[in-house]
Symmetry: D2
């Protein structure tokens, strides 16, 4: 990622100005504010603002559950209880606002998470920068043979080089033509809203993205997962590290009861109970299909 000196100055200026507030603050989050965390070759994640911390989750829960909640449990125990039992509304009481720079094909996956607020850079108004995602060679891989939508074995050095050459050359040529089409130097120049259609989907865009903690956890569960495409997963992982500093108890509970958790079907639970009693269970007497049985074996490993 290359921040312009101007952008870097803006960030430093924002970080230099400290305000006084009666609001709850999260010290672990203050240190991240405004700083651009690099992701991929030109992307980043920046925290612009946040609302609440671990204690705000508990405070909201205690409105619901009344006085009883206050005495019985400390904050961490309460948060773990809420996460374990899918009481999601208290987690909605925290909010985060991020500035993200990301390739368009990643943005198209990301936006499918509907419960969030978004302000994206408009290529109707403004001219996109000449910045394209070019994968690191070790990220280039063949179509997976087991997972219909993922990638499998890495490409050979030779094939890899050929792919990178194509990606770079096509991006450069398309951008040259984009510039040429919109240029009004000695001619009219094509409207930006039209010219942008010539740009490939590895061009970078950027947006402000605001979301509550419950929906952010949902995003992280799907996008920090190993089945997610690498190029969105690295964003999810970066955000996950930031969240760990913001709401450490909630993040730990999320790791234990969501990311690291496993959902077992009625049939799988039945098999497990039988196995724990010493019964010999195999696919034939499991009530599962071959595929489910394989997935089950992977999980109880």
């Amino acid at each position: 990622m290359t921040l312009t000196p101007e952008q870097q100055a803006e960030i430093e200026q924002a970080r230099a100005k400290e305000n006084r507030t009666l609001r709850v603050t999260a010290p672990g989050m203050e240190k991240h504010l405004y700083t651009a965390h690099p992701v991929l070759d030109h992307g980043f994640v920046r925290v612009i603002d946040y609302m609440g911390d671990d204690s705000a989750i508990c405070q909201a829960a205690r409105v619901s559950y009344g006085k009883g909640t206050k005495s019985v449990q400390n904050d961490e125990g309460l948060i773990r209880y809420l996460m374990r039992h899918w009481h999601s509304t208290p987690f909605e009481m925290c909010e985060i606002k991020l500035h993200v720079k990301l390739p368009v094909f990643v943005a198209r996956q990301w936006i499918r998470h509907r419960t969030a607020n978004v302000n994206e850079y408009s290529a109707r108004y403004s001219i996109l920068d000449r910045e394209f995602y070019i994968p690191a060679p070790e990220q280039l891989a063949a179509q997976s043979t087991v997972n219909n939508q993922g990638r499998g074995a890495p490409l050979t050095a030779e094939e890899s080089a050929r792919v990178l050459e194509i990606l770079k050359t096509d991006a450069a040529r398309c951008y040259d033509h984009y510039e040429e089409m919109i240029s009004d130097d000695g001619k009219q120049g094509l409207a930006r809203e039209l010219a942008r259609m010539n740009l490939p989907m590895n061009i970078y865009t950027q947006w402000y993205w605001k979301v509550d903690l419950h929906n952010l956890f949902h995003f992280l569960r799907l996008r920090a997962d190993l089945h997610a495409q690498y190029e969105i997963r690295v964003y999810a992982e970066e955000i996950s590290r930031i969240v760990a500093d913001w709401v450490p108890h909630a993040h730990k509970a999320f790791e234990d009861y969501r990311m690291g958790a496993v959902t077992l079907s009625a049939q799988a639970m039945d098999c497990l109970r039988r196995m724990l009693k010493g019964e010999e269970v195999n696919q034939e007497n499991s009530g599962m299909s071959a595929r489910e049985w394989r997935e089950f074996q992977d999980v109880i490993g």
Copy 2:
């Protein structure tokens, strides 16, 4: 509204603790933080937290519209432009969290606004307090004869007194029985989730309510409107005053382009244009129904 000394102490304690933050702060809002603003006889509105200010709206808009936006317009002009042209996403970048105490029949209207986060006091876990909304005598009125859903002429003093007597007595008796049913003094005591069904809908409940500024404006437009029921309107009006201190430019634009604005149909605009040219327009040649024509007359007054 009667805050217990304990609650009052909590508020003062929260207000006494000042934190340092790198986040944007809104000085006009800091003064409201935690303080309970009374509404109706036992209700209140309290700001628990907020995110953003007028400048945050502009900052988000400038991500979308790029460099051009920066130089051309000052913050107020930009905010007014965004509001006037229904560019709603930058307003979603501000967020507010309120603690509200309100009668159940008001809560039932309020919750119809779906794009918000809510944590309500649970009457399955906890015991509701003996607090009921009893209208001020001047609020008692007959069914409106012009508006099928509203109230019209005030009740006579005598009828008013009779109504208040009923409301007070029934509320007290129902609550006595609620207490009696759940009491486990010398008996089992009915479960709270069942006993609550005996309580009338003027009992107070409370919740944390978190919403973005765009959706809050939508709420205010509908609920601070004269057609809204008085008992929810007073909450909307109180919140509107708080918002004016929080984001003064956005609030002014909202007043001008939403609250004080009028939407005129294709037919009404056609009539207006003809009238401005000096033509005599009446219901017959207006293309409007009698009812629409009456509404139109009221508006151009």
Copy 3:
């Protein structure tokens, strides 16, 4: 539930009129259309309309996953795969519209599911009927001693009788007063929007409720669960039976992978794997709290 002869005639008339359509129809659902399925003492659930069936879920999935999906799997296998791997969007492609009559305190829980469309009977416009939920004696129970929000042991016959007497008498008196307040017989009559506040929360209301299948399954998972309050659970169970006739494959997958499924934390999975290898695991060496360990024991039976 008592339908008026007029309502019954309406239902029969609607059922008598058969239309021709090119749309997908679900024969198992056609038989439910319009018929009021009784729930509680005066409530009901009626299917007003539906969109899609099992095949519509697959059709939508195949748009996403392209040609490959077509050949490999039959409809049932595909639906089970989608449910197991949390591919929720194809289930959103089915929609159902219900007419529900239910007590207000149940409606207050129900409405917390925000992703749905609702038209509720308005007590500002119209007069509520004299219909209250009075529990069957066997449903009266004491506050649970293990679950802070549920009910436990049934009440004794004597205490039960006393409770029923209170519920009936208070409901009747409050409704008498409601009628008296709004009556304009020889007086002005209080506006309905005010008078309704005197009614207890076991009065019945009604609404049209429209929701997609994915969000309906989420509702059913929470509300048909044993921890849900009995009075909303019976609605969820009735709806679940209807859904089983509408989209049998999707409903079966839901039963196996959601209702009957169990989510185990990272710690619980670790313990399980150790137990399957023959290791002796107890709370002390489990990494779980006493409460979590107890919940784990319940689950592995």
Copy 4:
């Protein structure tokens, strides 16, 4: 648009099969079912399913407003009343499911409407077709000088030809390279999820899109508007024609009270009232900025 013979056969097969149903049907919509309406050079809109008609809107409204609603107004009058007074929930009781084929840069605007259900063709699983949007020459225009985000004067024939040449050549070359990268003929072949990043944003994608009528009207108001980009507007216009056949009363009300309507600010209403009384009003004494005054003049034309 070019449908393959296979797709055309599927459509004809679907249209040939008539089912019997007790559900409400909209004859005007039945004739559109499944048929692909061409939009742009390769795109289309197809109705896959629908729920409800004009009468369903009234039926839902009558649940809310009770018996009074039944006698007073006929269906059309009621629908117009609901639209005029922003009673939006009854319109949410109708639903439509469309199959849309559209260029990626249009899809990126479209998806910003969050309250809808979407299943998009996955370029991780499947290979995109070689189909690109190439504008008709008369659609090529320069950046607007008055509207920062739109297009203005048409390009000269010469400049236009040069732009079309670029768009066609770059699309073809990028697609050739896409095919070459994923090909496993004598090599490994790059994973599809990576190769797709080389494709320009005028490539076509497709999706199933399901939305309720209220949110569809909101979409149409913004996207059938003259300020919307031409390439999404033609989709909105095509859908609008279909909706006119589906719910003619609701569509007419939408045209009168939304599409053809104008919202005037508090200041503008004040000026209008003064002008109707014969006062001379100009920008100086209007309370409006120069820009607002110009917009006002355009509107009262």
